[in-house]
C-alpha cells in the first residue's frame, strides 16, 4: 500500500526512510511536541518550502533546466491570494478566485517563457529567467496600488483560519483547537497531497521522458519525443506547483510583500535546498528544506554565541556574525556541488548500493 501511495518510488535506504519518517512525524506533531509560536512557524515554513523545492526539483533535477524565475511563480501565488483577499474580503470564494487567477497567470507566463527560450541552450534559459524575474520584481513594487509596493499587503483570512477562531472550548493534550491549529493542519495536508502528486508525476511515463531529456536531449528527440514540448510542460507544471506553494505561504502569514515571496534571496535558498537535499530525488526536497530552514532559524543563534565568544579577535567576529550565515551555507553549497552532487539523498542511497 505504501508503495502505491509513494508511486513505487520508495526511499531505498534504511537511514533515509528513518529520516523521512522522523521529519514527517515531527511536522505532523509539531503543535503537540514543540509548544511555542516559533516552532509552529518554522514547521509551516518547512511544509511550504518542501512543496516549493520539490516543484523546483521537477525542473532542475528531473528535466535539467536551470531557472531563476521560480520565485516569480511563488510570488504570483502569494500575491494572487493576498490581492484577492484584500479586494474581495475574507471568504473562501476569494481564496479560490486568487488561486485560480494566479494559476492562470503562471500558466500563461511559464508557457510563453518556455516556448520562447527553451528551444535554445540551458544557459540562455537561465539568463532570460534571471532578467524576467528581476523585471517582475520591479513590476510588483511599482504597482503599489495593487501590491502594496515595498510595504506589502496585510489581509484577513477566512474566519475558520483566523487566530481568534476557537472550534472547541476543550484542549487536546493541552493544545487549544484554534484557527492557527486548523490552518497548520490544512497547510500540512495540502503540502502532503501536493508532494505525493509530484512524486506521481515524476514516476509516470511522462516523468521518465523528462529524465531521458535530462540525460541526453538529442537521443530523446531521436526516439520521437518532442523535447521542446516536454520541457515546456515540465516548466508549466513546476510553475503551477510553485504558485500553489505561494498561495499557502500567503494564507499562513496573512501577509505578503516582495521580501517574503519574490526576492532573489529566496531563489538562492531554493537552489541551496535542492542541491543539498539531492537533485532528481523528490525526497531530497524534504531533507534539504528541513535541514536548511532549521539551520536558518537556529544556526544564527549558534553563530551569535560564536561571534560574541570571538570578540576582540580581528575579522573572526565578522566572519561568524549571525548576518553572515549565508556565507557558510554558500560554501557548503559550492562544496556539495563538487563533492556530493547527488546531495544527502544520493549519498545515502549510494551507501546502500555499495553494500551487496
Amino acid at each position: 500500500m505504501f508503495g502505491q501511495i509513494l508511486s513505487g518510488d520508495l526511499p531505498r535506504s534504511r537511514t533515509l526512510t528513518l529520516l523521512l519518517i522522523a521529519i514527517v512525524a515531527g511536522l505532523a506533531l509539531t503543535p503537540f511536541l514543540f509548544p511555542g509560536a516559533k516552532a509552529i512557524n518554522v514547521a509551516a515554513k518547512i511544509c511550504i518550502f518542501i512543496v516549493l523545492v520539490a516543484s523546483y526539483d521537477l525542473l532542475l533535477g528531473y528535466t535539467g533546466i536551470v531557472s531563476f524565475a521560480h520565485t516569480m511563480f511563488f510570488g504570483i501565488g502569494a500575491y494572487g491570494v493576498a490581492i484577492a483577499l484584500t479586494r474581495l474580503g475574507p471568504s473562501w470564494a476569494a481564496v479560490g478566485a486568487g488561486v485560480g487567477a494566479s494559476l492562470a497567470l503562471s500558466f500563461v507566463l511559464s508557457l510563453v517563457i518556455g516556448l520562447f527560450s527553451l528551444r535554445v541552450k540551458a544557459l540562455f534559459y537561465a539568463m532570460i529567467t534571471l532578467a524576467v524575474a528581476s523585471a517582475f520584481q520591479t513590476l510588483a513594487s511599482q504597482l503599489s496600488e495593487f501590491t502594496g509596493g515595498e510595504d506589502g499587503l496585510n489581509f484577513k483570512v477566512p474566519e475558520i483560519l483566523s487566530h481568534g477562531y476557537v472550534l472547541w472550548q476543550q484542549t487536546i493534550l493541552g493544545v487549544a483547537v484554534d484557527g492557527k491549529l486548523i490552518s497548520y493542519y490544512l497547510l500540512f495536508a495540502v503540502a502532503v497531497a501536493l508532494f505525493l502528486l509530484m512524486l506521481r508525476i515524476v514516476n509516470s511515463p511522462f516523468g521518465r521522458v523528462l529524465q531521458a531529456i535530462r540525460e541526453n536531449a538529442f537521443r530523446a528527440e531521436a526516439l520521437g519525443y518532442p523535447t521542446v514540448v516536454y520541457r515546456t510542460w515540465s516548466n508549466v507544471l513546476s510553475a503551477g506547483f510553485a504558485t500553489l506553494a505561494g498561495a499557502l505561504l500567503a494564507l499562513w502569514l496573512r501577509y505578503n510583500g516582495p521580501d517574503t515571496s519574490l526576492s532573489f534571496e529566496i531563489m538562492i535558498d531554493i537552489l541551496l535546498m535542492v542541491v543539498i537535499g539531492g537533485m532528481g530525488t523528490m525526497y531530497g526536497a524534504v531533507a534539504g528544506a528541513t535541514l536548511f530552514i532549521v539551520a536558518q532559524n537556529y544556526l544564527q543563534d549558534l553563530m551569535k554565541l560564536a561571534s560574541s565568544a570571538a570578540a576582540g579577535v580581528p575579522l573572526i567576529p565578522n566572519l561568524v556574525h549571525p548576518d553572515r550565515w549565508l556565507l557558510w551555507l554558500g560554501i557548503l553549497f559550492v562544496v556539495s556541488v563538487y563533492r556530493f552532487p547527488a546531495g544527502i539523498v544520493g549519498k545515502l542511497r549510494a551507501r546502500v548500493r555499495a553494500k551487496p
Partner: protein, 340 residues
C-alpha cells in the same frame, strides 16, 4: 615582416567576410527616432551622452564575459563579484587619497583615480585567476554545474565583501574636477560622462586592435569559432582561456570603479544588479561577439536614458523589451558567432 608580405597573396585569395551592416544602423536609428520625441535638441544631446556613457561602462564589464563564454563555453554567473570588488577597492583607495580627490586640480584627481583603477583591475585580475583555477576548472563542459557553482561563488564573494567592508552602502564621490557639467550651446553634458565615453572607446579600440591585429587575438577569434580545430593545430586553448578570463575579470574591476563613480555609491549587492544588465547585453549582442556586445551595451544605455526621460515607468522594463524584440528578430542575438 618579409614573410608576412610573401604570404599576403594567399590571404587575399580568401573570400572577404561581408560585414553585416543592418545592426550598425540600429544605434543612429534609435537616436534619430528619439530626437523628435524629445522636443528639444539640448535635452537630446544630454541624454544621448548619458546613454553612451552608461553603455560604455556596461560594455567594459560585459566584454570579458562574452569572450569567456565564446571561447570556452563557460558562462560565469559570478562575474558580478569582480564588479563589486573593483568598486569597493576604489572606495578604499580614493578614501586614502582623499586629499588629492578634494583638490580642484585635474592632475591630482587623475593621480588619485588612476591608482584606484589600477588597483581594482589588478585585484580583480588576481581574484579572477584564482576563481578560474578553483571554481571553474573542475566543471568544464558541465553547464548545469557551472551555473550553480558560479552562482554559489557569487553568494560567497558577496558575503566576504560584507565581512571586509561591512553590509552598508558606501558613498563614492567623484573627484572635484570631474564634477559639474560642460555647456555646449544649451546642452549640459556632465564631465564624468564624457570621461566614461572616452575610456570606453579606448577600451573598445584596444580590444578591437588586439583581436583583429595580433596573433593572440586571431587565436581567440578562431577559438571562439571552433575550439577543437585550434587545439588540433597545436595551440593550448586553455592557456589562452585563462588569459582571457583574467583580462575579463580585470575589465570588470575597472567597470566596477566606473559604475561606482557613475552611481556615486557602492553596495555589496551592486554586482548582482549589474549582472542582470550585462546578461541582457550579451544575449542581445550574441554570445561570444565583442562587436555585438558593444552595440548591445550602447543600445541598452541609450534606450534606458531615453525612456527614463519620456516614460519613467517603462524605463524599468526597457531592457527586457529590447531583448525580446532583438530575439524575435534574431534568435541568436545581433551577431551570432559561436556555433553551438
Amino acid at each position: 615582416m618579409s614573410s608576412s608580405a610573401a604570404t599576403a597573396p594567399h590571404v587575399d585569395a580568401l573570400p572577404a567576410v561581408e560585414l553585416d551592416r543592418i545592426p550598425l544602423l540600429l544605434l543612429p536609428a534609435l537616436a534619430l527616432i528619439a530626437l523628435p520625441l524629445m522636443g528639444s535638441f539640448s535635452t537630446w544631446v544630454t541624454l544621448t551622452v548619458a546613454g553612451l556613457a552608461m553603455g560604455m561602462i556596461i560594455f567594459i564589464i560585459a566584454s570579458g564575459l562574452t569572450l569567456v563564454f565564446g571561447l570556452m563555453d563557460v558562462l560565469n554567473f559570478g562575474h558580478g563579484i569582480f564588479i563589486t570588488l573593483g568598486a569597493f577597492l576604489a572606495t578604499s583607495v580614493l578614501g586614502a587619497l582623499s586629499g588629492w580627490t578634494a583638490s580642484e586640480s585635474l592632475l591630482f584627481n587623475m593621480l588619485a583615480v588612476l591608482p584606484a583603477m589600477l588597483v581594482a583591475m589588478a585585484a580583480a585580475g588576481i581574484v579572477g585567476f584564482a576563481f578560474e583555477r578553483v571554481i571553474i576548472r573542475p566543471v568544464y563542459g558541465q553547464h548545469l554545474k557551472q551555473i550553480m557553482i558560479t552562482m554559489g561563488a557569487m553568494i560567497v564573494g558577496e558575503e566576504l565583501i560584507k565581512v571586509v567592508w561591512g553590509p552598508q552602502t558606501i558613498p563614492l564621490p567623484l573627484p572635484a574636477a570631474f564634477r559639474g557639467s560642460l555647456l555646449f550651446g544649451d546642452a549640459a553634458v556632465e564631465k564624468y560622462r564624457l570621461i566614461a565615453v572616452v575610456i570606453g572607446l579606448a577600451v573598445f579600440a584596444a580590444m578591437f586592435w588586439a583581436l583583429s591585429r595580433t596573433k593572440v587575438g586571431l587565436l581567440i577569434r578562431a577559438g571562439v569559432q571552433d575550439r577543437e580545430m585550434v587545439e588540433s593545430l597545436g595551440y593550448r586553448i586553455r592557456r589562452l582561456f585563462v588569459g582571457v578570463f583574467v583580462a575579463g575579470s580585470a575589465l570588470a574591476g575597472l567597470g566596477g570603479v566606473m559604475w561606482g563613480l557613475y552611481e556615486q555609491n557602492v553596495t555589496p549587492q551592486m554586482g548582482a544588479q549589474v549582472n542582470v544588465l550585462i546578461f541582457i547585453v550579451i544575449i542581445i549582442g550574441g554570445l561570444g561577439s565583442v562587436g555585438g556586445c558593444f552595440l548591445g551595451a550602447l543600445l541598452v544605455g541609450l534606450l534606458a536614458n531615453y525612456t527614463g526621460f519620456l516614460a519613467p515607468k517603462v524605463a524599468l522594463f526597457s531592457n527586457i523589451l529590447l531583448m525580446v524584440i532583438v530575439l524575435l528578430w534574431r534568435p541568436q542575438g545581433i551577431y551570432s558567432v559561436a556555433n553551438r
